[in-house]
């Protein structure tokens, strides 16, 4: 007897949260090629069902803090999803429209926000365990920087909070049949 009717379900939810993240800086001078974004890595494979089939889609999600960290106006970065099938030795771009730009340009500096990234991934040819993570590169005028995970500007009643004022980065995957 089945209690699931014909409904599509969402299962095997994995969520990881880094409780003490270090700040990460992407610089328009140093990071004009893609570099790994810390705390966005997750190990996952689509959920396999009792009939041998795998989930049709996997939703990859990540949430982390992005701040402009300079006085220049344009502020942003390009991010892409990459994966590894050899435990992180080599990485390949996922493709399928999982590369995007985030931020502002022309006299509109982005002071700080959380970036919530969600990709709907096809599972064709994906039955093995993979590592997935984000990579980013910084664009903008020379000297421009993007700081991740730690607040650049956070003020409490006593003024600017220094130290480790931060937003905890999250990453998750879930299977959908």
């Amino acid at each position: 007897m089945s209690y699931l009717l014909s409904s599509r379900v969402e299962e095997d939810v994995r969520i990881e949260v880094e409780s003490n993240p270090a700040a990460q800086i992407l610089s328009s001078a140093a990071n004009t090629t893609f570099t790994g974004i810390n705390y966005t890595t997750v190990r996952y494979k689509p959920l396999r069902y009792i009939d041998g089939s795998f989930a049709d889609k996997v939703i990859y999600s990540s949430s982390f803090l992005v701040n402009a960290n300079s006085s220049t106006n344009d502020s942003g970065a390009t991010f892409r999803l990459v994966y590894s099938t050899d435990n992180g030795s080599t990485w390949s771009a996922w493709g399928d429209n999982t590369k995007f730009n985030f931020g502002s340009w022309e006299q509109a500096q982005l002071r700080g926000t959380t970036l919530d990234i969600n990709f709907c991934l096809d599972t064709t040819n994906w039955s093995e365990e993979r590592l997935l993570k984000l990579e980013g590169e910084c664009w903008g005028p020379a000297g421009f920087q993007v700081q991740l995970h730690h607040n650049v500007h956070f003020y409490d009643n006593n003024g600017l909070v220094t130290g480790t004022s931060r937003y905890l980065p999250k990453v998750s995957c879930r299977s959908i049949k």
Binding site: Y3, E10, W105, I117, C120
Partner: protein
């Protein structure tokens, strides 16, 4: 013997997901509401007592040097003619806007955005839902969906696969 949940009410059920792979960007009109590609879904709740969650994921970018846009949720019984989702409240709980407006008429935003609505069940009949959007009248601030842009010379466009889902809780 069943190994299924004994406390089922907090589980997402009856999930429906549709993925939209764009081949062109969609530019907002300054004058008329326009259907947002990939946001339409026909959904039938299994229970008249449950709550339905509607979620839509899309890339937001710019066609002009600023970008402001307004979004709203709409519904239809047949999928042919759509109305505001809730006329009793002038649809105000289902409005949303985003974008930038610079003092020097410049300053545009690239972003990935998510719209989420919690809807009271309408029974166990099928209902269509979609998002419409529009840019502000009279301003050079048209937005663009399904792509983000690398603003160098020449610029690069990156498409993003939008997706819409509904489920019950």
């Amino acid at each position: 013997m069943s190994y299924l949940f004994s406390d089922y009410q907090q589980t997402r059920t009856n999930l429906k997901l549709l993925k939209y792979v764009p081949t062109v960007a969609q530019i907002a009109s300054n004058t008329t509401w326009q259907y947002v590609e990939g946001s339409r879904i026909a959904y039938t709740p299994l229970s008249a007592e449950s709550t339905v969650i509607y979620e839509y994921y899309v890339a937001f970018s710019y066609e002009d040097t600023m970008n402001q846009a307004d979004f709203k949720l709409e519904k239809s019984a047949t999928g042919v003619s759509y109305t505001d989702y809730d006329t009793a409240t002038s649809n105000q709980p289902y409005h949303w806007s985003t974008g930038t407006h610079g003092a020097n008429q410049t300053g545009a935003l690239n972003d990935l955005v998510v719209l989420k609505y919690k809807l009271a069940s309408w029974g166990t009949t099928q209902q269509y839902m979609q998002i419409s959007f529009k840019s502000r009248t009279g301003r050079p601030s048209r937005s663009r969906l399904h792509v983000t842009e690398y603003p160098s010379n020449p610029s690069s466009l990156y498409y993003y696969n939008a997706f819409v889902m509904c489920y019950e809780v």
